[in-house]
């Protein structure tokens, strides 16, 4: 970032050119990747993140659970897709969405021996680019719970046997009927930026798990997490982490939005601390997404939903709002300027909230009612970028 002005200063000293003010470097453009129940859209934002151009739909009619840009090359996109009738697949683009090809081998469980009931991937739910030192490496989480890895940029996928065939797998995930209404999911695959072999993942249901050897062995990490009242927290199948995020500025800190509250974990401790108790009582600390600040590990945002009675999964009271903590979860502040003040019964799914790397940080939420909202000031005010999209399943943001 400083190189241009250094060159200019040197030139001025040599007297070879009149001293000019360095031209301000244009702010990076922002790309919001929106995956929906009926296709995917790319929203190209200007440097100020004020105006947006819609590119889409891609894969109209496909259920797209996740659309992710590879931060290592800034041009490879992967989309996890299926239709209501056809089996799951992964589409790949190496030109930022101008053209797509299908994975030659999408995530799939191994064929079971004769006479045994084998698992079948219903859909790929989550995509995570691998470590910066492993170009082409990706992880995928599926429904039902499975972990898969690609080493060729998403063209072919292999099961991570250390997890999928772990002797405790069945006790972790429980029955096929467990998990969310549209199928149990493996999500929140996290790669430690300091160590490519250090991984976390989470399952709804099945808890949070950690590997220190690139997925060969795994151990649960659920101490301190609550489960639904009356059930035994020692049973992993009762644990329902909704979303887990690792702080890029302090990778030993993780935040989690769980079925039973908001939590923080500071390694090397293995005990989660419920930090959602500081949320207003009338709002509670139930929700799906959590996002973290790219440079400040004390700052995180959540988007609470109504988790009372039959779990309406709507904004509490029909008044949507994000909440932010600036002190690691000790306190939370409501952020609702710009959102509807009443009768807005949408909410935000676990993959549908994202933060960019800007300063101030830009925040993005995609709603169950098909609206994309953005904030250019870390959530203090919000503006609607797009309406009338299909139900939004995931939002990712990149500055390619």
């Amino acid at each position: 970032m400083v190189a241009p002005s250094r060159r200019m200063a040197a030139g001025a000293r040599r007297g070879s050119a009149p001293a000019r003010r360095p031209r301000p470097r244009p702010a990076p453009r922002t790309l919001a990747l929106v995956a929906t129940r009926k296709g995917a859209w790319l929203f190209h934002g200007d440097g100020a993140r004020r105006s947006w151009r819609a590119d889409g739909p891609h894969f109209l009619g496909h259920v797209v659970h996740h659309l992710v840009l590879d931060p290592r090359d800034g041009r490879t996109l992967l989309a996890a897709a299926r239709t209501g009738h056809l089996g799951p697949t992964v589409f790949r683009s190496t030109d930022r969405g101008r053209s797509w090809t299908e994975a030659a081998r999408p995530p799939a469980f191994p064929k079971a021996p004769e006479g045994e009931q084998g698992r079948v991937v219903d859909h790929t739910f989550w995509l995570t680019p691998g470590h910066a030192s492993e170009p082409g490496a990706w992880y995928a989480g599926t429904s039902p719970q499975g972990l898969f890895r690609s080493d060729d940029g998403g063209a072919t996928w292999m099961p991570v046997a250390g997890f999928n065939d772990h002797p405790q797998y069945r006790t972790w995930v429980g029955s096929e009927q467990g998990g969310t209404p549209d199928g149990p999911k493996l999500h929140s695959v996290l790669v430690d930026p300091r160590d490519a072999a250090h991984l976390y993942l989470a399952m709804s249901s099945g808890g949070v798990h950690e590997s220190h050897d690139a997925g060969r062995t795994w151990a649960p990490i659920v101490r301190g997490l609550e489960v639904v009242e009356g059930f035994d927290p020692a049973n992993l199948a009762f644990h329902d982490p909704h979303c887990v995020r690792l702080c890029p500025s302090a990778p030993d800190r993780l935040y989690q939005q769980n079925h039973c509250g908001i939590y923080r974990l500071d390694r090397p401790s293995d005990a989660w601390v419920r930090v959602g108790k500081g949320m207003p009582e009338r709002i509670g600390d139930i929700g799906f997404p959590v996002v973290v600040h790219p440079r400040d590990a004390d700052t995180a945002w959540v988007f609470p939903m109504d988790g009372t009675s039959v779990w309406p999964r709507t904004s509490p009271g029909g008044r949507p709002a994000a909440y932010v903590t600036r002190d690691g979860g000790a306190s939370w502040r409501r952020l609702d300027r710009g959102f509807p003040r009443r009768q807005a019964w949408w909410t935000v799914k676990r993959q549908a909230m994202a933060a960019d790397g800007g300063d101030p940080v830009g925040l993005y939420v995609g709603t169950t009612s098909g609206e994309l909202w953005a904030s250019r000031d870390e959530g203090r005010s919000w503006a609607c970028v797009a309406r009338h999209l299909p139900e939004i399943y995931a939002v990712e943001v990149a500055t390619p």
Partner: protein
Amino acid sequence: MKVLVPSPLRSYTGAREVEAAGTTIADVLEDLERRHPGLRFRMIDEQDRMRPHIRFFVNGEQVFELAHRLREGDSIQIVQALSGG
């Protein structure tokens, strides 16, 4: 033999009707996969079971087994079951 392909799968075949060879449905699907990569997995899962909303008809009669034997001149129709909203 002739295989009739439903519209959701024509992005693979580029045509409503394609040719494939084989003595069973499974063989025909393998041949279709060779000719149109990616097609089979959208219809048949990794345990070699027909996906829930995919149906196969031979000469107008629904068949339920991939091992169903075919005869020369049979025609196959692949159908995406009408369901959902």
